[in-house]
Symmetry: C2
Subunit: 532 residues, 2 copies
Amino acid sequence: MALVPASHPQVAVTLVLLLSVLGLAAGGKLLVVPVDGSHWLSMREVLDSLKEKGHEVVVVAPEVSLHIKPAKSFVMKMYPVPFTQEELDRDFHAFTQDTLEEGTFLERFVRIYQRFEKTSALFLSTCEHLLYNKELMRYLEESKFDAVFTDPVIPCGQIVAEHLSVPSVYFLRGIPCGLDFEATQCPNPPSYVPRVFTEHTDHMNFLQRVKNLVFEIPNLFLCNFFFQPYSKLASEFLQRDVTVLDLLSKASIWLLRLDFVLDYPRPLMPNIILIGGVNCAHKELPQEFEAIVNASGEHGIVVFSLGSMVSDIPMKKAREIADALGSVPQTVLWRYTGEVPSNLPKNVKLVKWLPQNDLLAHPKTRAFITHGGSHGVYEGICNAVPMVLMPLFGDQMDNAKRVESRGAGLTLNILEMTSEDMSNALKTVINDKKYKENIKRLSELHLDRPIHPLDLAVHWVEFVMRHKGAPHLRPAAHDLNWIQYHSLDVIAFLLVVVLLSLFISLKCCMFCCRRCCFKKGRTSKPTKSKSH
Amino acid sequence: MALVPASHPQVAVTLVLLLSVLGLAAGGKLLVVPVDGSHWLSMREVLDSLKEKGHEVVVVAPEVSLHIKPAKSFVMKMYPVPFTQEELDRDFHAFTQDTLEEGTFLERFVRIYQRFEKTSALFLSTCEHLLYNKELMRYLEESKFDAVFTDPVIPCGQIVAEHLSVPSVYFLRGIPCGLDFEATQCPNPPSYVPRVFTEHTDHMNFLQRVKNLVFEIPNLFLCNFFFQPYSKLASEFLQRDVTVLDLLSKASIWLLRLDFVLDYPRPLMPNIILIGGVNCAHKELPQEFEAIVNASGEHGIVVFSLGSMVSDIPMKKAREIADALGSVPQTVLWRYTGEVPSNLPKNVKLVKWLPQNDLLAHPKTRAFITHGGSHGVYEGICNAVPMVLMPLFGDQMDNAKRVESRGAGLTLNILEMTSEDMSNALKTVINDKKYKENIKRLSELHLDRPIHPLDLAVHWVEFVMRHKGAPHLRPAAHDLNWIQYHSLDVIAFLLVVVLLSLFISLKCCMFCCRRCCFKKGRTSKPTKSKSH
């Protein structure tokens, strides 16, 4: 056996040779079916890297979108949709305004539910217009892609992959109703894996564990509510009965934006690859921002953004926030496009856009006020900046809870908080050394990895392109039904065998006993009769 | 947000800075408690790499061992044991001879069981002599190690780690009775994860699933038989009640020599890192072997070894094998130290040792005859050489089944096979292109990885040294008992709530009904009385 350490370059050379034999060294052909919003922003970074590695990347996107715009690193194929840019912008603006508007729990629930219904209908209609765009579909069929790269939160990409018979790679944070666990056959014990929206940590008391289990029920409804229309659409389009679960379970690789410095350790499957922090790549800080940061003096800066979807807020709230920001000596860079609050303090600079990750990377940054979107939170961790979290919707509450449970930030309820609450929270995360120490520890653990998550993501997309999928990572659990998976049929069979054995043994014993008694009876009877 | 791809060197620089702050850039201090035999051979490669990276490596080993010998890459601390080298060699030789000797199933079982008992007693005694060697333990206590690196198949290393309060990293293929699943809290569904010794694949029919579940029972006994003495020893030594399961569940990282090109996809935990193929690093082929290979002509060579523990076999079997080897045109390199069979054909060269991995890597190698040890099998896969497998004991039967189920080799029962069986199998894997194609496909999948398993192993050992463990990867499941883990208490509570609600509802209904009836009764009664 060879016992001397690896000459790894040899392996690399073998690999390159191998790839050239496969005819793929020159680059593969990747179809991207993205999901709009922040989902797209981190996916685009992977596309840039794939392009750099010589692959041909084709993105299909609706003509009207929030963020998906043409770029040098990919070919963009657009398709018409039955709504205008103004309608889309209005819809999303209304969504965030509805979220920020005060009211009773029921009022807010109904308002957000209705808005969610409208937005869902928009996404579904977009998908329909992709699938039934004959010209575009013909082009896709003829293009002979090696793989489809998509975010399954909107399962449109997998319907296309299925139609084209091409393997798929997913890029996501997770599916709120837990369909990702089902589709990967990943065990998901409710005793220590907190469900989305519960705001639990992985250490739950009895009542929390009850709540966690009970939350499976609304999840079931949520899955059904959101994905049923796609099951119907897929069945019509593919001309056979199929559910979204069937479709998603076909994915070759799931690239999950998770890392256990933030998320709680839980079982994984071989085709789940963790790429949390994939979005933390740096570029240079633009000069105008560098100037602001340098002018901030010894107190440094605070970065404040509520994410790519929320850039203005109701005036009353904006004035409260402005008050709070005025109470700290730091310069605050606030991404805000709404009407300027009249009480805006001198230390606050409003900007229409800010290079969030690069600002967070600056050693003068003292704190990060964020809505708790997963991208922002990971940027906070990468750059070791303590956070004040003001979650609004989706997984943001859970993300905020995770940061807080790690002692790396404080959470505020943006609707209920006062100016003082915010001021106190901000001062605490800046001045209490504990927060900086905790986020530094998380950051060190997060950055100490054998390969950058962006390179890992690129590797697995390339892997699926090269090998036409990754069937060797597909667990046999996919071929079992629920009863078989849990061995219920085997347990029932063994129970029957054991009970039957017991019954037969018992019968045998009784039979023997009876025979003995009978013999005794027979032998004693004559004695008795003799005695008489 | 930063949207341009990573300048990864920046991350690396940050990391190095970070490490120098932690005072670890100059290298950590690692204590290695190895397990003898082939387990040691692949572990040594990781130690060589760790030494190259500037760490101080100390290996503690008994004065008498099979393979653990001093080397440049580590400091060796030896301790006396109450047996001689001759006794040890005789014991292991007898073990393999017993395995190869024919007889009825019961005879063989009793023989192997008794031998296993003797060998286990040897290992246990070795562990006792380490723990109670006061001078050595004092040296270990004073040395302030950053981590312990060990193979938990013999849990002695973890007892030392516990005593020194130092985090541990494990390096193993698996624990035959499945204790590794329990100790990592890794789900292990018997419906598709085949148990050791069953020789099942991951696709089982009903009766195989029954057998797979029933195999939990002997596994329980096996665990108890083997580990109970270590629990006793640990409790005495650490002066508190502790089981081997308690001890093993404290490991920071489990480096498992698995890869799903060979093993079947199954759930994993965050602290399980797969490093299958870690032992496939190449060095140059020694000149004498190069000469033999070059002289083999167009037919090339066959490599034949039954592993580091078996180097001779009973003469009758050796003659049968020699006959079979003479039937192929290839030159056969056979690692064999026993008496030369009189019928040894010209094409067979006997050698006392062979550079297995480097020979397998030679393009002229046509087949590999192996006992199916995990190291050999992975070397076969790395180098894409089809195999004839003759498993003897331990996990070898399962490994052989895995290779066969992937269509990359044929399995023979070494005790029952005839010369013709072996000749046919060898000719088939050489001449039937299917075997070469299948092993080539497996090899391509196996080698297409983002980082070499040896580098991955080194990274995680360093990680644990740098961060004093990896607590962020420890699932909360460790803090739950069996009932809590499976949510049985929650289910019982919910059942009681539902039944109670039903009962109360029923009672209310009955009460209402009765009242209604009663009222009716009362209203009808007077009517009746009036009518009278």
